[in-house]
Symmetry: C2
Subunit: 251 residues, 2 copies
């Protein structure tokens, strides 16, 4: 697989404490699949400098692209930007263009020290302009630093997509059967996976209510005709149990 | 802080592909906070043996408890159990008690090779009995291996809580103000954080709609009186802006 790889780093005590249900991983994961970038790892770390710095340096060495969310606001717990500077071994300094734009928008009298921190970036960082917030995210090397607030993060991700290197889009097709038990199809699924080694064939039980339990079979990869053939075979497998298969994901 | 620490390892291509919105992290995070266990890291890795083995060995060395979800069913993509055996350097073998119980429940004729894999555990593993599934999760050393399907995972987590070592419960209180801007309270918040260094004071902007934007201030820790005092000070800080503070999290 020659598709680029990626990791996500969520910087957020609020995720680890259970206060906040993360929705950023799923948003970024879907966008990356469409871009043909293979998301290979996610980490969530607390707002502690050495934890952030270590994670950034490990992930940027291991993957083609790294996306971080969280910690770029003006308050005491927003420490991502200076940690990224330290991870890259560069100064953390006023970004003149961003400083001027924020000062103009906020007004000189309200552009206090806390807000000026948002115009302070690692040297060499390129701001990620976006429609949701004047304070920018930024890219440095292969690391893309975005906000934690989902609406702002999403605007930054969409802006970023314009410049990200792309691979062959990763396609996904599914079939499911209500009442299917994984143990009844496991052997047949193994045979299908073996016939399509380049695909990623997954088996996912679902349980909404007792009457809506079953299994979804999902094929994923860059070869759409193979995906469709594998799903056709999985459809036959489900039908062989005397259960009516339904195309797509369970509702 | 003498509270025990923990990490979560999500084993799941379906999270990395964007197919599935994870809800297991948040459930486990909340339960751990109530038990006084500090969740310090989360990783999501794909269904690839060396990735699972490396992550398990790193996390079990770094934290008091490790919770994994996903990959313990009967299909070809369920490889967590044998990877845990390899991570611990022990044989992966039939667990006689589990084998007998599953065979009895499923019936000898339906207890095929795929289903027998679910009765195969790392040597020394202790099954996690639960109300949702006959196939058990298991604990080995400080690693607790649970299902990926949320309803089954939750039953396993609740069963596990009976035996987990506990710490002082981690309490959390919040206050928010609609219309508050982080840049206006950052300095005051820093002062509060400095007065309560043992607490974790977080500032979280929210944006449901334009009219419902604001900031929530969250204090977290094991010292409830200090938490309540810090939140009282944050309440005063918000009121000082001419904005009416509301106790708790924003709706």
């Amino acid at each position: 697989m020659t598709n680029p790889t990626a990791a996500i780093l969520i910087i957020g005590n609020e995720i680890l404490s259970g206060r906040t249900q993360d929705v950023n991983i799923n948003f970024i994961a879907k966008r990356l699949a469409a871009l043909g970038i293979v998301l290979s790892e996610v980490r969530v770390v607390p707002d502690i400098p050495h934890r952030i710095i270590d994670a950034v340096n490990t992930l940027r060495a291991g993957y083609d692209q790294v996306f971080t969310t969280g910690g770029i606001g003006p308050t005491h717990d927003d420490i991502t930007s200076e940690c990224i500077a330290e991870a890259f071994g560069v100064p953390w300094e006023i970004h003149p263009e961003t400083f001027a734009a924020m000062e103009k928008h906020i007004g000189k009298e309200n552009f206090n020290a806390a807000r000026q921190r948002m115009a302070t970036l690692p040297r060499g960082a390129e701001p990620i302009k976006n429609s949701a917030s004047l304070a920018p995210g930024f890219s440095i090397g292969n690391v893309h630093v975005m906000a934690g607030v989902p609406r702002i993060m999403q605007a930054m991700m969409l802006a970023l997509e314009e410049v990200l290197p792309r691979g062959t889009p990763i396609a996904m097709r599914a079939v499911y059967g209500i009442g299917v038990l994984e143990g009844a199809i496991a052997e047949g699924l193994t045979a299908i996976q073996n016939r399509y080694p380049a695909l990623d064939l997954g088996s996912y039980p679902f349980m909404q209510e007792r009457t809506k339990s079953g299994v979804a079979i999902v094929a994923k990869g860059t070869d759409l005709p193979a995906i469709e053939q594998a799903i056709a075979e999985a459809t036959t497998l489900i039908a062989g149990l005397g259960i009516t298969p339904a195309q797509g994901e369970p509702p």
